[in-house]
Amino acid sequence: MSFLIFSQTFVNALLLSLIYVLVAMGLTLILSIMSMINFAHGELYMFGGFGVYVILQRFGYNYWLGVLVGVLIAVLAGVLLERTVFRPLRKELLPASFAALGVGMILQTVALMIFGPLDKDVPTVFPGVINISGVFIPMEKLVIVLGSLAVIGAIIVFVNYFRAGQALQAVAQDSEAAALMGININRINALGFGIGCGLAAVAGGLIAPLYYVSPYMGMSPLLKAFNVIIIGGLGSIPGAVLGSFLLGFIDQFSLTYLGYVGNIVGFLLILLFLLFRPRGLLGREIQMH
């Protein structure tokens, strides 16, 4: 019995962690390259959600097409934003971050004006539940997990085996040095920012059927993503993965075994991290201008 609870919680934690990874990845990528906190991440996450909503719910086309559309729009928006807003603010943490906050506000209100404040439902795309001797795994969560794993894999491959990816890494480590190596910083930044935004949209698109779609859907995932990257280490992609798992498990288990008091546990953990190991698990101090 109690073992059943444990194993169910364990599975839930696993699923939740991978959802966190999906959201945190883009945030940390952008942080590592532009050394800014992308407060607009939640709104780009929303792009994915609305992509699915419009394509699937309004026009009744294929779900994946919806995700794709959402992602493409997000990437475009990302590149555009980098060019117009963030490029001149590169390596200026606070200005860039607050400009991002402003961008987020704008995007949110625009979405509000287009779609209205009511929560939109997205039909279950992958119905059904897998039952392994009393431990339940919803189908659609499984899909998300696979998606999330795919994304992690793709990022790892891209960063390590593609020229652009390696350039990305170089810029993240030391943009000056990278520039000396003849890397076009501007292009790489645009690329990185675009990918980051795309990742946010992927997350939104995959998670949309699980919950619902609304202009405010990005808020709580963003907060979680913050906590994840604080724990994992700012600007470190492996850190983001590690942090997601740590936080995912802590959230699930504390809530399951402590009840609503568990809400505060995660935050206390984060505070402890910030006070005693501010770099997080795998973080390094971010280079400033």
């Binding site: 939740l16 404040p117 709580s220 699930q252 609503y260 809400n263």
Partner: protein, 410 residues
Amino acid sequence: MKTTKGFIGVMFILALAILLIAPSVELALAQESQILKIGGFNPRSGPAASWGLNTDRAIDLGADEWNKKGGVTIQGKKYKIEMIHEDDKARAEEAVKAVNKLIYTDKVKFIAGPMMSSPFLASAPIIEATKTITFVGCMAPAVLKDRKYIFRITVPWNHAAPAFFKYVTKIRPNLKTSVHISSNDATGWSSTQADNDSCVAVGIKVLGSEFYDAGTQDFTSMLARILPLKPDFLSFAGTPPNITALVIKQARELGYKGQFIHSSNCSPDVVGPIAGWENIEGMLLGTFTINGEKVPATVKKIHNDWIAKYGQENAGGFGDGIVQYPLIDILSRGVEKANSLDPDKIVTALENLGTMDTVFGKARWGGMETYNNNHQLLIPIWVSQVQNKKLVLLSLEEPWDVPPPEQKWR
């Protein structure tokens, strides 16, 4: 030099500010008669906007009814009702500013429909001090306790839930055990308190009560605690429809077979699509509805008016909005009975309205026991259930004037 320029800057701006203020002071003096101004403040922007807007719409529809009749009669003169809605952005601070504007600039004598406790409580001192007669829709006990000019139009859980669950035991005697799920805030706590107390009062065993934190979307951890207890039904109270839907969906995914019950206002039109209609078939709700099956014609009419005025959006008119439809009706009756605009006269008149039959059924004032005034409207609780994607009205239940004894749960 720098300093001087700085201060000149400040003075410049200050002067500007005061110049901006002065004219509106003048404006406030302009006042014409023959109009009964009724103010209202609710969130009309931000995440809670849809909630607030629905409430305001419901109230406006009520006002339209009276204006069609030519308005409110005071000493032979007809007063048209004019609604002035302000946006409090769901922020206590903004609510105070809104109420200031309504009372001091628009010179309203009445305020209708604030439905968020914290913003209302922040502005309550002004309302009482200026004898502004206010009908509220927010549930916290502190809202009504010892007030002189504040009435409550919505029935809080501790009055409604016992009636609701009494009826539930009548039609579903097999439901013996329950777990209550609610948000981890004042609303959630008082609603859960009420639900638990009522269940005990009517002989349902409460196996536990769970609280989720604002912004939670994944309830699997909570459900992992609940489901092993094998409750006959999961009960929600004061839980917004979208959250209710998520919990239901995830509960079913985790293999829960039991019933779902929402003892207060909640729109199946929102829950259904997100949770999946098949999952909420037979769900019992304590919510008002204007387009459900078996609702009286008078109520159906509201539905048509709604569509005529606002289109399809939220045409269900469920939730905390439509509850306040009778507000203007009751207020106007009170004013006509008092036959004057003197707040104290109107209060006494209102208190002595006796049994009013409203569009939602026979209602009367109560609550002396709890709030030591009779300012709590006891309007019937609508119990209805979901049957193939429609809400079917089952019965109207008289809420309890004296809530069941409180027990310690948290």
